[in-house]
Point group: C2
Chain length 489, copies 2
């Protein structure tokens, strides 16, 4: 079969199966010829054949595209397309938890959601670093790493960063993960079985709730106040568990610094008390320190892990918040026999995190550069936090708001009678996006009076503009003394 | 506090906690000064202070190093260091499955283990592509992606590659994962609960066995012959399950092309029969096509997924084997309600695969370039397969060996009386590494008579040299007619 026929046949298949969708552009004949190592004439002939079959349309200036209406004889139904068909019984009733909710996007939307500000990512420097790694290490950087626990050099770098934060651990305790999210997922996989009780702060990080629920855990909430998790309530709860002879909780998930969503930090005395409870009751503590080094005021409190001399605490950190989330590199610090089981879990889950990215990150993150970036980012985000405070004071004076000492999030108590879910819709109508409090509670209803605002993602002038829009949305929902909303007056 | 004091304090902490281990080299004062944005004098003064405290040693030519013996007052015990201490009860007895077994390394070792040949990775081209992505997309490439199921453009590219292999699916069916390993891990997470029965080929890919075991599955093996999985045995097994009213198996894990470890491929008629059994008995099929496009002889058989019009098959592929494993990018093709649950599992597990690598791969993998690379790699690996065949015929004529039509692995039946585990040690003593058959069976004993050789990882001359060493190891273990090994004569 001549080459052009083979090419034509392949393209015909791609078009009729929908792999090349209607209206998609085919490569230029020059590019495709170069790619395939064939002559331009071959490609041109194949394209001409497809055109005469009505499968593609060529137009001067816009290249060759898949025809908007395909000849019916050539089109089969793709398996994913069938609607209303029956699926095998094991596929169940698609009982998903909450769908991944994406807020509105676009340049006009002021989004108080998401993570850090892309404008703060060190893109060019990191690009140079990747180039250096590929130039010096070549194919080695594109292989599996020698150790499923992560690149040894990056693990050493992590211990140096941790030491600068008062956590002294050897590199053997560090397990590199795909973000701190995977650190929690692995711990879940190793320690939590369906039906196990897991303790969480309430409110807490929504994707931790979803992960733990997906693992079949029975979640029990412990309330958070301005000084973090209520350790007194935790003590009562554990004691009750013990007296009733119920199986011990399998995990305590806690975010001690600039908690997500409340921004509160666990006080030093509570950290000690929490660790003591974990010891006495034999409950592992998962310490999620997703943004502990992003501090804007006050002094750091030692990590719970730094108080732990007995392998009670699993500590997770990440480079996502400070550097760039697209890397997806975080780490878990863990001591004791469970460490080996977690390394095994990491290996069988994905054979290790991309070595190229680990090597590039290791080369990029000298302690000095990390500290420099931290200072720069900290300055930027602190200004934004303060801008949010001022804007809220001016435009939403009756909203409750405690200034967080660091991190990314502010937790706002809405004026009486305004519900966060209703507000979400009203706010989106006005081009502003927030996270409704309901996402962060075991019973969504408990979060009806709060919203979470990420102040770090955008410059100050947009923050101010966003709060003005938000205030307008709140005003439209305010309950008047007679009990009807102002909108209905 | 003066700057040099702050720096000194920080370094002191790093040294005393062990984060900067004994004998490790500190950065040059010039490099550290540049990193921190301070003067070289500041760094020099801090280093001098540390030196007079006995914490570092400076030597001309080799820079400044952490002192080999630290002053005892400055050294605390790192938590990971305690040996013989007691760990909390929940840490259990460290009941790990097999430890991650790393064979011998070094330039003198001929290793018939691992995956593809790093020399075949398109390192320079890929480096250029990453640079282009960072230059054109900037910070966007370092953010979370817009969709936890993966970059939409890469998903489209995957459908085009699949279409060229006869699998017609829309991009919405594709979920990008961290290698095909994670595709299986996610399916495990969503479909398999502890105690569930899972059917596997026997022998099969060892890390699939370890993953499924870690998930608490009860594994049941179905034998493989020269035409792949014995579908007749599968039919009996499923029928028995049904008659005994036992819960249906939760999953059937199968590698239809160039099976790992046997190299056998599932015949076309068996593919149809297998799918029909899956339909009738309501068992989901996980089709692991880790190297299906690496074919060296014969004609391709359609993927089981391509026969499936009802969402019975979950199909996994990967870029690891053909391009480079360090990327850690693979994909799962899945239709029906379970798809949304798998996307949710991906999201809560790691918030998605690195967008930077997804974008770079998408830009890199035009269909033409993929096909070119496939042809080049295929030629290379076929020569190596043939070199292995010749070497075995010459040096180990009484070993059984069926020529695989593609993939990476040859499955070798050892001469009578030679056990693979003993051979592994004898071979390593002679500088050659193999995978013993015991790894691939539910009862390791069943694999005592086989070894798996990866013929793709090294050039032909090393293959020949390795087989010579292997033959020597085998000869040292041969059982003589009188029943003692030749070594003992």
């Amino acid at each position: 079969m001549p080459l052009y026929r083979q090419l034509e046949g392949w393209l015909r298949d791609a078009i009729t199966t929908g792999a090349l969708p209607v209206d998609s552009r085919l490569p230029s004949s020059r590019a495709l010829a170069a790619d395939l190592g064939v002559s331009r004439v071959t490609v041109g002939t194949a394209y001409a054949e497809l055109e005469s079959a009505g499968l593609v349309v060529a137009a001067v200036g816009s290249g060759t595209r898949v025809a908007p209406v395909l000849p019916t004889t050539a089109v089969g139904a793709a398996p994913g397309d069938r609607r209303g068909g029956t699926w095998p019984a094991w596929q169940g009733s698609a009982e998903t938890s909450e769908p991944a909710e994406a807020g509105p996007r676009g340049p006009d939307v002021v989004a108080f959601t998401g993570v850090g500000d892309p404008a703060a990512y060190p893109v060019a420097e990191f690009g140079r670093t990747i180039r250096q790694v590929l130039a010096r290490e070549g194919a080695a950087a594109l292989s599996y790493g020698p150790d499923p626990a992560g690149d040894p050099s990056l693990r050493r770098t992590v211990t140096q960063l941790l030491a600068s934060q008062g956590i002294g651990v050897p590199p053997e305790s560090v397990l590199i993960t795909s973000g701190s999210q995977q650190a929690l997922a692995l711990v879940c996989q190793v320690l939590v079985r369906p039906g196990d009780t897991v303790l969480v702060e309430e409110p807490t990080y929504d994707l931790a709730l979803r992960l733990l629920r997906a693992a079949g855990a029975q979640l029990v909430g412990v309330p958070v106040d301005g000084h973090g998790l209520r350790v007194d309530v935790l003590a009562e709860l554990l004691e009750r568990h013990r007296l009733l002879d119920r199986p011990r909780p399998r995990l305590l998930y806690v975010v001690p610094n600039f908690q997500n969503p409340t921004g509160a930090s666990l006080s030093g005395s509570r950290r000690h008390a929490l660790l003591e409870l974990a010891r006495v009751h034999g409950v592992p503590v998962f310490e999620d320190d997703f943004a502990g080094d992003l501090r804007y005021s006050g002094r750091a409190t030692p990590a719970i892990k730094s108080l732990d001399d007995g392998g009670h605490v699993l500590y997770a950190g990440t480079f996502s918040k400070l550097l760039m989330p697209g890397l997806r590199i975080g780490y878990l610090v863990v001591d004791g026999p469970v460490r080996q089981r977690l390394v095994e879990a990491k290996q069988v889950t994905d054979l290790g995190t991309s070595l190229l990215l680990q090597r590039a990150l290791d080369r990029f993150v000298t302690v000095g550069r990390y500290q420099t970036n931290l200072r720069r980012t900290g300055r930027l985000y602190r200004e934004r936090r303060d801008a949010l405070r001022s804007a809220l004071a001016e435009h939403l004076p009756d909203a409750g708001f405690a200034l967080p000492a660091g991190g990314l999030f502010a937790w706002v108590a809405l004026p009486a009678g305004v519900r966060s879910d209703t507000l979400l819709r009203a706010a989106r109508d006005r081009g502003v996006d927030v996270a409704p409090g309901s996402r962060f509670f075991l019973r969504p209803e408990d979060g009806a009076g709060h919203i979470r605002l990420n102040f770090a993602v955008q410059p100050q002038e947009r923050i101010a503009a966003g709060v003005v829009r938000l205030a307008a949305a709140v005003d439209s929902l305010r309950v008047t003394p007679s009990g009807t909303s102002s909108r209905q007056r």
